[in-house]
């Protein structure tokens, strides 16, 4: 490991209504992989974006190569050799690989036209240095696989001759083999003396690539430790901020009768391949797995959004068909979707209207509706769920993430379904609101509701579930009872999909 090439001191970044970063220090050495870890909303990506020049910090300074730098936008950071490989790809689909790599830095011929030949040659060399010579530099990016697109993204970053590279959750969309080859690349870049900031919350990956870890929580830096200086458990405790047993409160309650049973579910896109699952009344069932494992897709089948190719769903023992969300709600199934802004809420509409969105027919069985009654219902849930707002007539887009999620919950509570699916229910919300959502889930379970909880946050799944299914690449690869929970084993199965296949079969 070399000398320190980048330091950030006392960084404070404000967003409307919250402190995303509070007096955070960070440093990076040449040739090291420095992992930034924390729960969603802890400020990992925000810190990375401040370093990249995408955000301007209100306070603090960034020093690069011994001099203080103040970037106006990412382009100035790029010119210094600070580049990012983004989580969402920043490629243009219908121009060539080479054109994407040299976007806005195109080589030109004497006539002032784009010099495709030269760009393609250099792109080919860059990809060759990544052992990806099989990628056709002339082909449209649209025609590449996700992993190939990521390699193009890395090649693009390399073309800037970087000194510092930021990887933001790079493995989120990759398969195991692709993750392997990505890690090989990172090791190689490291050897060349590039400093790497690696944003992630997948603890299984850390020993494979990391040198140091900085833990953030609620915008505050907790600690920087060497990779071998702390156990996974200590890491989780630092991330969450308290003993897990205090965050996740579960009351023991009876599970009586099967509420929902799904047999051999398949979809048309090979995302869900033979999924079996059962949920009992009064039970919280977790589905763990990586992004892309087919968890959300399974939920979509159960809720009638995603067409089912084959399989059978039973509710209370009766075979049912669920082809539309309307049918699903009539059968008493509710879905708290992964993307609350797009799917969970009408952002421009008021809290009150969103609260009654599903239950309108239930509240008003006759033709006409009454705004007064809607407001009453909304106020009731506002108090119950402690939604922080001055008025229920406020549009949802003005609420914080946690309060928006509470409105989504209010929407379902007012409808009162028997089966409730939570897809990443605590994504992007602060710890306080998280705990309220957990205790609400617990309360619902004790009332006899059947709950399915999908989450990428292992501590959360382990803390809340009575039983956990593990999904990997469309298959259920394991089922674990609460008494057998072990985060390392579940983590390994999520990553590798191995070890549990026999379990799923039986």
């Amino acid at each position: 490991m070399g000398e320190t090439i980048l330091t950030a001191r006392h960084i404070t970044k404000l967003f409307p209504g919250m402190k995303a970063l509070d007096n955070v220090d960070f440093d990076l050495k040449a040739g090291e992989v420095h992992i930034l870890v924390g729960e969603n909303g802890a400020g990992k990506s925000t810190l990375a974006k401040v370093i990249l020049g995408a955000y301007k910090a209100e306070e603090g300074e960034v020093t690069f190569d011994g001099e203080v730098v103040k970037f106006n936008g990412t382009k100035e950071a790029l010119e210094k050799g600070i580049v990012a490989v983004y989580q969402e790809f920043t490629l243009v689909p219908y121009i060539s690989v080479a054109q994407n790599i040299f976007l806005n830095r195109e080589y030109k011929t004497k006539l002032g036209l784009i010099d495709h030949k030269r760009m393609e040659e250099e792109a080919r060399e860059l990809l060759k240095s990544l052992n990806c010579e099989y990628i056709d530099v002339k082909s449209y990016v649209k025609n590449l696989s996700v992993a190939e697109q990521q390699m193009v993204e890395i090649a693009k970053a390399l073309s800037f001759k970087p000194r510092v590279m930021v990887f933001d959750e790079p493995t989120a969309t990759l398969s195991e083999r692709e993750v392997d080859s990505l890690f090989q690349q990172i090791h190689r870049l490291k050897k060349e003396g590039i400093g790497i900031i690696y944003v992630s919350h997948r603890m299984q990956e850390f020993p494979l690539i990391g040198d140091r870890i900085t833990i953030l929580r609620d915008g505050v830096k907790i600690k920087t430790v060497g990779i071998n200086e702390c156990t996974n458990e200590e890491l989780v405790n630092m991330m969450v901020g308290r003993d897990i047993s205090q965050v996740y409160v579960r009351t023991e309650n009876k599970h009586e009768g099967v509420a929902l049973k799904a047999e051999n579910l398949y979809d048309y896109h090979d995302r869900v391949k033979g999924v079996n699952l059962t949920v009992n009344k009064g039970e919280i069932v977790g589905i763990a797995g990586l992004v892309g494992a087919g968890r959300t897709e399974t939920a979509e089948i159960l809720y009638g959004i995603r067409p089912m190719k084959s399989g059978q769903i039973y509710i209370n023992g009766n075979a049912v068909t669920v082809n539309t969300p309307l049918q699903a709600t009539k059968l008493g199934i509710g879905l708290v979707s992964e993307d609350r802004k797009k799917q969970g809420l009408a952002l421009d509409e008021s809290i009150a209207l969103n609260t009654v969105a599903v239950s309108l027919k239930k509240i008003f069985p006759k033709f006409f509706i009454s705004n007064k009654k809607i407001k009453e219902v909304a106020l009731d849930y506002k108090d119950q769920l402690r939604i922080a707002t001055t008025s229920v007539n406020k549009a949802c887009k003005y609420l914080s993430g946690g309060n928006q999620q509470k409105v989504v919950l209010a929407k379902w509570l007012s409808f009162d379904p028997d089966i409730l699916i939570f897809d990443e229910p605590t994504r992007g919300i602060d710890v306080g609101a998280k705990m309220e959502i957990y205790s609400l889930m617990d309360k619902l379970a004790s009332e006899g509701k059947a709950i399915i909880m999908i989450s990428s946050e292992l501590p959360e799944v382990i803390g809340m579930s009575d039983r956990i299914y593990i999904m990997h690449e469309g298959h259920m690869v394991g089922e674990v009872q609460r008494s057998e929970f072990n985060s390392e084993e579940i983590g390994a199965r999520m990553m590798l999909g191995a070890g549990g296949a026999e379990n799923a079969e039986s």
């Binding site: 990412t74 382009k75 983004y86 920043t90 689909p93 219908y94 976007l103 806005n104 036209l113």
Partner: protein, 316 residues
Amino acid sequence: MQKASMKQRIKNIPPVAYMLVVIIIVFSFMDPHYLSFSNFRNVLIQATPLMIVAFGQTCIVLTQGTDLSLGAQVSFVTVFTVFLAQHGIILEVAMLIAVCTTTLIGAVNGIIVAKGNIPPFIATYGMQNIVNSISLLLTAGSSIYFDSFTYRIVTETTILFVPLMVWVAVLVFVLVWIVLRKTKFGTNIHGLGGNREALTLAGISPVKCLIKTFAFAGFIAGIAGVITLCRVESGQPTVATGWEFQAVAATLLGGTSMREGKGGVTGTIFGVLLIQIIKNGLNVVGVQSTYQNAIIGSIVLAAIIIDAVVRIRSEK
């Protein structure tokens, strides 16, 4: 290697090209005189102004937009040029001024769309009405005239059996093709439709880029206007009414997509030819004009539905 790329090329031919062949065959069975050189020459000449407008529209569609003021701009050029000429400006200079004006109109469209973040459909619809009104005001509602020999030079000089105006369309095609394929500006047009975030992160301003694209389309509409003027030899405030929609239809028929910045200007040629050949064929076989629009509309719909079905199938 060579074979694979050949296969790829065949795959890249938009379905509209096959449709074109089918329709030509159908018409030639219905009327023995249909398959003649002079008839095809006619089709080409008739198609030329719309063809040019459609090249501009293609650029706009690539950015996920539509410019509904392009037809109005074409009419405006015919009117404004004649108006200027009547007031003592040399006709050729007047043409140039008119083209500059439409470029400016395009830029204004772009500024409204990009800076105001307003859907192009609405913004350019407003502009369409404004431009149409100006044309009507300048002409008091009827056609205006200015005699000149220049018109005939454009429409009647032939090079290799093809009139000069068709060559102008060819030139515009080459220009747009080069812009899209071989310039930064063109790359950015694909980026506007495909991934604006990527442009921003690369330090490109999507706003400036959109303004440029609309201005470019305005410039091309201006050229189409000059060609139209030479054909009708007068300033007619409603000569190009509806062309903007035909241009959108031709663009979509040609395989350019409203999403992801997919497509290009080559397919648009086939799209325009298809529309024009159907019109011409229906005339030759003697179908009443009342039915013609319905038939064209049905064929446009059919082509787009077939395309959508093929796409959905391939996604499944």
